[in-house]
Every structure is written in C-alpha cells, then in structure tokens.
Symmetry: C3
Subunit: 168 residues, 3 copies
C-alpha cells in the first residue's frame, strides 16, 4: 500500500517554506515603505530613522543625508516641524518590490501635499527608488534616492530602474 | 534508516498554516481598505456600510456616524451624491497594517480630489486610523478615525499611533 | 501508537499549496499594476506594452488602443514623451484584486499630476477597471477601462464593478 503522504513531503514542505518566506519578506518591505509617510508626517523621528540602516543614505534632490542619525535630525528640524504644524501629507503610492535574496529594490511615486491659505496644494511629485537589505534586525533601507518629477531626466530614469529591480 | 520527512512534519505544517493565516488576514484587511475609496465614489452604499461592524464608528472631523446604518445613509445622502455627480475621488494610500490576533490597526493617508470649474483640486488631505476586528463574517472596521491634515495636532498623532499599531 | 503527522498530511500540503498560489497570484497582479505608473512615467515603452496581452485593450476616454503594439507606440509618441519631459506622475492608488481562477478583476484610482508654470497640478482623477488573465508567460491585462471622474456616470460604475470583481 502506498504512503498517502507521498515520498516528497520534505521537499514540499521546504518549497512551501521558501515561497512563504518570500511573501513575508515582501510584506515586511511594504510595511517599511508604507510606514514612511505616516511616521514622517507624524514627526516620529526615531521611527523614521529606524527605517534605514545606521549608515543608510537619504538622497532627495538638494538634501543628502548620510546615516540614520542625520535622518532623525531632519525630522526633528524646525523646517520639517513647520510642515507638520502647517499641515502636510507625504503621500506615497503603492510600491513595486523586487526581491533578490537578502537585497531588494522598490519603486514608488509620492505627492507632497501641503495646506496653504488657498487650500491644499501638490507641492511636489517625486520618484522614489529604494534599495533595501535584510539585516539581523529585519529589512532596512540602505539607499533611498528621490527626485522631483519636473522634467529632469534623472527622475524617469529612477522610475525605470526601480520598476525593473535595478540599482539606481 | 531515518524518516525522510523528519519527525517534525506536524509542527512544520502547523507553523506554515499559522504564517499563511497571518498573510491571509492582512490581505483581507487590505482588501477591505482598498475597497473603501472605489465603493464610496461608486455610491455603493450597502457595500460601504458592510466594511464596518453593525455598531462600527465612522469619525471624520465634524461628522460622527454611529453604526453601519448611519454610514449607509451618509453614502445615500444628497450631499455625498452631489460629490459623485460633480466628480470626486476619495484616493486612499496604501495602508500599513498591524495584526494582533483577532484585532488589527491600520493607517493610511487619503486625498479627496474634486472636479471644479478650474479643474481638479485637492479638497483635503486626511489621516486615517483604522481599528478592525475579526468577526464570524470576516474582518470589519470597528472604529475609523479620520482628521484633516491642516496642522491640528490630532492628525499627526493619529498617523503616529496608526503606524505603531496603537489604538487611537 | 498514533502517527504524529496525522493521516491528513497530503491534504494539508495540498491546501497550503493552493492558498499560497492564490497569494502569489495576487502578488503578481499587484506587481503588474504597481509597475504601470513608474514604467509609463519612465518612458519604458516595451515594459508598459508587456503588461498587456498581445491583443489587450487600453481604453481611456477618447483613446482606444487595440493591442500591445499600439500601447507601445502611445508611450513612444511625442505627446507622451512631452508629458515626461515636462514633468508628470501617473500616480495609481493601491488596487483591490478579485481572483477567479485564471481570470481576475482589479480596481483603483489614479491621479495624473503634471508640472506647470504655476507648480504641480492634478490634471485628472481617473477610475481604472482592470481585467487580467493568467497566460503561459504570467498574468497580463486583457482590458483596462479608464474614465475620468468628472461626473460622467460611467466612472462610478467602473469603480463599483471593479470593487465587486465584476467585468466592466
């Protein structure tokens, strides 16, 4: 009589575990990215900084921050606190994630929407390219490169590279 | 000769089932949240109401609705129907979900974009904090608390709490 | 002595494999949809075209494109390249996906945000209804129907149908 579980139970379990791990990796990365906007608009400086590795890079047009301590200071700065107290949404779109073992690339758009005397306005539309790495503490951003979509060629190039899972 | 399936098949199956259930829970919650905008802009009053528990709370700045019947009436109201017939998008961002057994918290931004004589305008940017519960009929919203991002301190506080998986 | 793995290992493995396949299907569909905006704003004409079947339909208000070759040409057109060189974001929201075996329906909003002399403006808010099919090469769009949310009744109807997993 044949074994009802089949000879391949171990292989099937391993395959399931591997596929599930990929889905969980992607969920964790999406959780990181979907946290950015609420945390930065919430002024949660430590939480924002913790989305990056200690030596992670935050590179947005004229602002280049090297390390999570500098990112924390940016959130705590009077400039950033002024956005919050005036009314502001860093509204990120749903990311496309490309996993490659312990590394990942993701891409999304964002709109920075601010409250003004004439109502809410889109202050900028931005292309975001994320590089992420699995660390002992979980997935973290190693480099986020963001460029305003004002026609400069870098911005569409970031979107293309990010959508294809290529580095910036 | 050792058993190729190992002694731990039952434990591995149980672990897989538990991890999969978490991913499915999160998918169902995201499906609920991603349904809100299309259903409310589609005027699907019953479908919108069914995203909440019967005694669920819909709390948006000046509007406080207690129970899904009141939510249904809001969608059917001439005020809401006026938004639809004028042209309107309740555009919600991708949510960050924190599961805790049969409860969950989620957070996202939204933009309400309306069609005007001068083209489309962002009428408001809003912080949304969702509390959800697993019911026999599936996940439902128990309390959704939404505040405009115009500088009032409640709104960043909702984003922080939501991103951290804390109640409002 | 009873078998610690239980008599139902094969059934449990099959159930897990089926549930995982559904999550993977949904992930692949979301990956397709989240790729659209970055690829179209990145001018990646071949990549955009490859999101559709060869005979896929792209139906947006006045523009009706029949087949992926026509979609590729649209991205390469001077009109579309003008949006990119001027600064443009096709910002899609998170989709709600309804799977039905080898077919699927998805719904989302989008905002087309353009860079102008007076800053960024929302040029249009759009309802998107996606029909998708599993092909030997993976999930592809068979019909995408998009209508501007300017009050025309088609647009809320698309949102309703899409959110309910119904065809357009």
């Amino acid at each position: 009589m044949s074994d009802p579980t089949g000879p391949d139970v171990a292989a099937r379990l391993e395959a399931l575990e591997g596929r599930l791990r990929e889905l969980e990796d992607e969920r964790e990365i999406l959780r990181l990215i979907t946290g950015y906007g609420p945390l930065v608009d919430g002024g949660a400086a430590d939480d924002v900084a913790a989305l990056w590795t200690d030596d992670g890079i935050y590179d947005v047009d004229e602002v280049y921050l090297d390390g999570s301590a500098a990112i924390r200071q940016m959130v705590e700065s009077s400039a950033h606190q002024g956005w919050i107290s005036g009314g502001c949404a860093h509204f990120l779109g749903p990311a496309r994630v490309t996993l490659d073992g312990n590394d990942a690339v993701a891409v999304c758009h964002s709109l920075m929407v601010v409250n003004t005397d004439e109502g809410f306005r889109v202050r900028r539309a931005t292309a975001h390219h994320w590089q992420l790495r699995r660390t002992p503490a979980g997935w973290r951003t190693t480099v986020r490169t963001s460029r305003v979509l004002d026609g400069r060629p870098e911005s569409p190039a970031l979107l293309r590279a990010g959508a294809r899972g290529e580095r910036a």
